[in-house]
């Protein structure tokens, strides 16, 4: 199990570091638009994604970066996409952005329309079944999406067409500023049952709990061609989106300077080498930030605490991923800066 734990931890840390990086880039004005982070959902997603095989498909929502990173999509291409870089190297040539990430190669699609992951996954599963493969499709979306018509219809559709779909409901308890318990009649596992779909509710902050359950669930879906509903409790440590004004009082928000912005958004200025140097500083502060998050609701922290015997290995993973992400950032900024000059 140790190797598995370390692998899962690695997936989670990679996603976490990557998202923390996007957060800084966003604050620096290098990522346009709203930015919805999956920080706090990593355990749930790692537990699922680690059990996927080639040809499995994913449909996700406005908070899909962890899935893309963990599934192995080129992180630099994701970063460039989120930065709106209009070029070949960006995942979607700069046309999609962070709410509309698509990878044909990995059969991954997203949508900013609440609930659209569900019909999306149903269609992927239909294709997989029609082609007589063993593949499945996974839908990732928030608990709020289970009140949206096309999502509810999709539960019934997958159930009656007997399709291999895993519906993952990432329940953080909130939809933007709405407390979901006030807006959800009944409970969601029971709701899935009402469409003839079996389901379970798990602690999505505990990656092993999810992983172990999924190890049984996914093979069953592959074999029986029947949908399954996985309800996981997660947190959104950053609010609905970055510097969610509802979570952060206005005046405390100005703490981040415009460091990278200055060096990269200004077309003329210091040479690229100098620009990239500032990156190291930023990443180190990310590391710092992450370590401060020792709340018992942090899936990374929970894993470390449960496996104190692996403390050293965890630290090594941190260091490796730190280096990896730093390289990705450097490469990305090189492409980005090179083009924007």
């Amino acid at each position: 199990m140790d190797a598995e734990v370390l692998h899962l931890y690695e997936l989670m840390v990679r996603s976490r570091f990557f998202e923390e990086l996007t957060k800084v880039l966003w604050e620096d004005g290098l990522i346009p638009g709203e930015l919805h982070l999956g920080i706090g959902t990593e355990a749930a997603i790692a537990g699922v994604v680690s059990n996927l095989i080639d040809g499995d498909a994913i449909a996700s929502d406005h908070r899909s970066t962890p899935e893309f990173i963990m599934r192995g999509v080129n992180p630099s291409s994701i970063l460039l996409e989120m930065m709106g870089h209009p070029g070949e190297e960006s995942l979607c040539a700069g046309l999609g952005g962070h709410m509309h990430l698509f990878s044909k190669e990995y059969l991954m699609a997203t949508s900013g329309i609440v609930g659209a992951s569900l019909p999306g996954a149903v269609g992927f599963a239909l294709a997989a079944k029609y082609k007589k493969t063993d593949n499945i499709a996974v839908s990732f979306s928030g608990e709020g999406s289970y009140n949206q018509g096309h999502a509810l219809e999709s539960l019934n559709l997958a159930s009656t067409l007997q399709l291999p779909v895993l519906f993952v409901c990432k329940d953080n308890g909130w939809s933007i500023t709405s407390k979901s318990s006030d807006f959800t009649g009944g409970n969601l596992v029971q709701r899935a049952n009402g469409f003839g779909i079996d389901g379970i509710s798990l602690n999505g902050l505990d990656v092993e709990e999810v992983y172990n359950a999924i190890q049984v669930i996914i093979p069953r879906i592959r074999k029986n061609k029947k949908p399954y509903f996985l309800h996981v409790l997660v947190t959104h440590r950053e609010g609905h989106f970055t510097t969610d004004p509802l979570l952060n009082p206005k005046d405390t928000l100005k703490k981040y300077g415009a460091s990278i912005t200055k060096s990269f958004l200004t077309p003329k200025g210091a040479n690229l080498g100098k620009r990239i140097k500032s990156v190291g500083t930023i990443l180190s502060s990310l590391m710092e930030f992450r370590k401060q998050v020792k709340s018992k609701n942090d899936p990374l922290y929970i894993t470390r605490r449960k496996h104190q015997e692996l403390a050293q290995e965890f630290d090594e993973v941190d260091q490796n991923i730190h280096r990896e992400i730093k390289k990705i950032l450097e490469r990305t900024l090189e492409i980005y800066g090179g083009k924007s000059k």
């Binding site: 046309l95 992927f124 239909l126 067409l161």
Partner: protein, 338 residues
């Protein structure tokens, strides 16, 4: 050359395509019944669905992205409204969002149009609303040969296509929706639309090319679907009055064949658009704008549906484009008065 009914031609072209391309599947409510001939032949490629347009159209999109070619059927185009998001925010957007790397080869097939006395929620055409969204093609054939050829073309597209099938042209729909159990009502069915010559082997028609149904010198009439036949009938009337109408059958609403509309208008100097869809913010406007952009000089009128289509047949007939209206509006265009 042989002859076929309109709906037969479509089914025939689909069969030809399905035999050649096993990625084609059919989804929709009651398709096990409405396409029973296809079920007999391609059983597990026909997927009947619950009454859940939003989800099965949404699923059709990702099924297409994953390598299939779904024909997603709606009972009527009016019901696209419960699945409109799948069109506006998904089917038409994926190709762009993906950096033009991932296409959605999806055909949406839906009966449309009025004249059956079914009322305002079941007789619309609605292409005016859909056509505004970039990234989807819309076809509306007026006869069996075009219907088959365009269906085949749609099934070879890499991007989403809406294939509209006018109820007054389809024997099957007239029989089923029109009330097969009675011979006490008559519908104004265009003879040359419901049945006609078709090729022995289907060849895809070019999408976005209109057909000149009748040459003329005095006035260009642009139309599609059943309205084309109303124009043809009106033209006979107009000939008697020495007005020679050129009649263009668009066949494709998006993309519009503006080149050929412009060529005709340049010749006649006058255009009358006859549109069964809502008049406002639709086809007739787009044609006007496109011709003006080309700096053409011409006089212009249009006929379209201006209100909710009334249930009462007496009122319905006054609301939809009719031969009388076309004749009258042509005279107006010609003489400046009716």
């Amino acid at each position: 050359m042989k002859r076929m009914n309109f709906d037969e031609a479509i089914e025939n072209a689909i069969i030809q395509a399905m035999l050649e391309d096993d990625r084609i599947i059919i989804m929709g409510e009651d398709v096990h019944t409405n396409r029973s001939a296809l079920v007999a032949r391609f059983s597990d490629r026909i997927f009947p669905t619950p009454i859940s347009e939003a989800s099965f159209l949404g699923a059709g999109i990702t099924a297409a992205m994953a390598g299939l070619k779904p024909i997603v059927e709606l009972w009527m185009i009016d019901f696209i409204c419960v699945a409109f998001d799948a069109i506006v925010n998904h089917a038409t957007k994926v190709y762009d969002f993906s950096g033009k790397r991932w296409g959605v080869p999806l055909v949406i097939r839906a009966p449309c149009g009025g004249g059956l006395g079914d009322g305002g929620q079941h007789e619309q055409i609605l292409y005016g609303s859909i056509a505004s969204i970039p990234g989807i093609k819309i076809l509306l054939p007026s006869n069996p040969a075009d219907a088959g050829g365009l269906m085949l073309a749609a099934l070879q597209e890499k991007h989403p296509v809406i294939f509209l099938e006018h109820k007054l042209l389809s024997e099957q729909l007239l029989y089923y929706l029109g009330g097969s159990g009675r011979n006490t009502v008559k519908f104004d069915v265009p003879e040359n639309g419901i049945e006609g010559e078709v090729p022995d082997h289907w060849v895809p028609l070019e999408i976005g090319k209109l057909k000149v149904l009748k040459e003329g010198t005095d006035l260009t009439m642009v139309s599609a679907g059943v309205a084309v036949h109303r124009c043809m009938d009106a033209a006979i009337e107009l000939e008697k009055q020495n007005i020679s109408a050129e009649i263009l059958d668009l066949r494709t609403i998006v993309p519009l064949d503006i080149d050929n509309i412009a060529a005709s208008v340049q010749k006649t100097g006058k255009i009358l658009i006859v549109d069964e869809d809502y008049k406002q913010f639709g086809l007739s406007g787009e044609i006007a704008a496109s011709l003006l952009e080309r700096k053409l000089n011409f006089t212009y009128q249009r006929i379209g549906t201006e209100t909710t289509i009334p249930f009462s047949p007496q009122l319905e007939v006054k609301t939809l484009p009719s031969v009388e209206k076309i004749v009258s509006m042509s005279q107006f265009l010609f003489y400046g008065s009716h």
